[in-house]
């Protein structure tokens, strides 16, 4: 029985590899077409998009980065805003989530259960659920069309607290007791024991929150109004509209901007895949 099984699984392996490769290539088609489009002049698409990349990447890049499409915010400015927004969301989340998870994990204070539930009802709910009333409240708090408005309301999610709580809950109890016997206070314990041990989770949360911040579309769209506060992801809408106003739609420029907007989160996720996967899969535990 063994030999036949071996033979069929070799055959099965080839077919499996072929099928999976084909699907993987299919998944890459939108990206490949964008690369091809971004390296040609727009007029090249009138007879259909070419099969291979062209040589106009630098010319298109100059057009996009220096001159920009008419009536749209500057692309370098939008990239900078996105980077600052994503970095601030990441830093802000870590700064408020780590202490919160630490308090829940290592203290027994009155109202702990209530606080726990108040925070964790938001775990599964993205800002899109309450974006309308959250927008109204943010405007009243003076957060309309400024950097604070782009960042602070996005911090209201429990994902990071939850991930850190999971790590802290798995700590051996003796660790705290030993620290207490040594006379170490809670803050020293946090800095010298808990945080170093939670380093993989720190990395995972950083990746998840950076991508979360960078990829926002609806929130920047409603909370900002001036070009100086636009982000690259929400700004793509105006780029498309401007490109389509030409007699020959400037899709090459739109695709180049799209590539610039997708490279940071994709590179971060692919390069830090181990942490990203760990963080995501940890949520299901």
């Amino acid at each position: 029985m063994r030999p036949t099984r071996g033979a069929t699984s070799t055959l099965g392996r080839g077919a499996r590899l072929g099928a999976v490769t084909l699907l993987a290539l299919l998944f890459l088609v939108p990206l490949y077409v964008a690369v091809v489009a971004a390296t040609h002049p727009a007029s090249a698409f009138l007879r259909g998009v070419p099969v291979l990349p062209g040589g106009d990447l630098l010319a298109n890049g100059r057009q996009v980065l220096v001159r920009g499409l008419p009536g749209t915010p500057s692309v370098p400015r939008m990239l900078l805003n996105s980077a600052l927004m994503a970095a601030s969301v990441t830093l802000g989340k870590l700064l408020i989530a780590v202490p919160a998870a630490f308090a829940i994990g290592f203290f027994r204070f009155p109202g702990r259960r209530l606080v726990f539930w108040l925070i964790f009802v938001t775990l599964m709910l993205p800002i899109e659920v309450t974006f309308f009333p959250t927008y109204q409240v943010s405007v009243q708090l003076g957060l309309f069309n400024n950097f604070g408005g782009l960042v602070v309301p996005l911090l209201a999610s429990a994902t990071a607290v939850f991930l850190f709580r999971q790590v802290f809950a798995a700590f051996p109890l003796d660790l705290v007791d030993a620290a207490r016997l040594d006379g170490a206070g809670p803050l020293r314990f946090l800095a010298e024991v808990a945080l170093p041990m939670a380093r993989p989770t720190l990395a995972a949360v950083a990746v998840i929150e950076f991508v979360y911040g960078w990829n926002q579309y609806l929130w920047p769209l409603v909370i900002t109004s001036s070009p100086s506060n636009a982000t690259i992801v929400m700004g793509i809408r105006e780029q498309i509209a401007a490109a389509e106003s030409f007699a020959v739609p400037q899709w090459n420029l739109v695709m180049l901007v799209a590539l610039l907007a997708l490279i940071p989160p994709v590179v971060v996720v692919v390069a830090m895949q181990r942490w990203f996967v760990r963080g995501l899969v940890f949520q299901a535990r």
Partner: protein, 300 residues
């Protein structure tokens, strides 16, 4: 020994002022930007404001009646259900299928995982932009291919085509997420389970459905909830970029309809009622998820 005497507080620090101070910033942010808005929207949903927003009066459930009495809003509920149902089913089935294949590829596992996961990292709006070009009638390679095959492709005119396009974009992004979780879960299935079933003479496919798939139950359940939530709330960017809810409301899903009612039509009370609907749906899904999460935590 000292630790044993403090059995009630093992593994914790004493005091309550410090933990409250530590948790306060998170609590303030969640309170201000989630809990308070969610509570306030309840009030808005049962009142009607005049055109200047200066006064409002109690109207009971009138806003909800407007929501369910036909017209754009009811249609929005229907197309949302269709979109979320189909995309969840397809993304989960494809994710599971690919995970099973990739799991057996040995050393190239990580490479193939990467090749399916990267679209998940692409901002939805940018993913929508790539596909918009791909299927732009007359220009996009996808659109030209369909035209060559005899399809009268124009998603700006044909509702079903717009729906299929938006569904495809969403599935393209979500499959990698499902694959990740299934892959992790499959690696946790002891191979003895599969081998034992094969010795018993069960066919490969039957082994999978009767032995392996039930073991993936918690993952399937988790992904079901996450995909439903992603479909409900993650589709806004794609819809706004690719179809603007059209043609004739064919892809005007709940969050997009809410955006239109709240920001374009400036009907705050209708938008409030729609937010309540979203909160109820999301709340039910969250409760399901929490029951499952709690069970897992207890088992550890």
């Amino acid at each position: 020994m000292a630790a044993r005497r403090r059995a009630a507080t093992r593994g914790t620090f004493p005091g309550w002022l410090l933990p409250l101070a530590l948790i306060l910033p998170e609590l303030v942010v969640v309170g201000l930007f989630f809990l308070y808005p969610a509570a306030r929207v309840v009030e808005d949903s049962v009142t009607a404001s005049n055109a200047f927003g200066l006064s409002s009066r109690f109207v009971g459930l009138a806003n909800f009646r407007a929501l369910f009495s036909g017209g754009d809003e009811l249609h929005s509920l229907e197309v949302t259900a269709l979109f979320v149902g189909v995309t969840t089913l397809v993304a989960m089935a494809l994710g599971l299928f690919l995970a099973v294949q990739v799991e057996q590829l040995g050393r190239s596992r990580v490479l193939f995982r990467t090749l399916f996961v990267w679209p998940y990292a692409v901002p939805a709006a940018i993913g929508g932009t790539l596909w918009l070009f791909l299927f732009e009638p007359g220009i996009g390679p996808g659109a030209r291919l369909l035209a060559d095959l005899g399809v009268r492709w124009n998603f700006a005119l044909h509702g079903p085509q717009a729906m299929v396009l938006v569904m495809a974009i969403f599935v393209w992004q979500q499959v990698g997420y499902n694959l990740l979780f299934y892959l992790a879960a499959l690696q946790g299935v002891p191979s003895e389970f599969q081998e034992a079933a094969q010795v018993d003479g069960a066919g490969k496919l039957r082994t999978f459905w009767r032995v392996v798939f039930p073991l993936l139950g918690p993952t399937t359940f988790f992904l079901l909830v996450m995909d439903l939530l992603a479909g409900l709330f993650g589709s806004f960017a794609v819809v706004d970029l690719v179809t603007q809810g059209g043609p004739a409301g064919a892809t005007s899903f709940l969050v997009y309809q809410l955006y239109r009612d709240g920001f374009v039509n400036s009907n705050a009370n209708l938008a409030a009622a729609e937010t309540i609907v979203l909160l109820v749906i999301a709340g039910v899904l969250t409760v399901f998820q929490f029951r499952f999460l709690n069970r897992r935590v207890h088992y550890r």
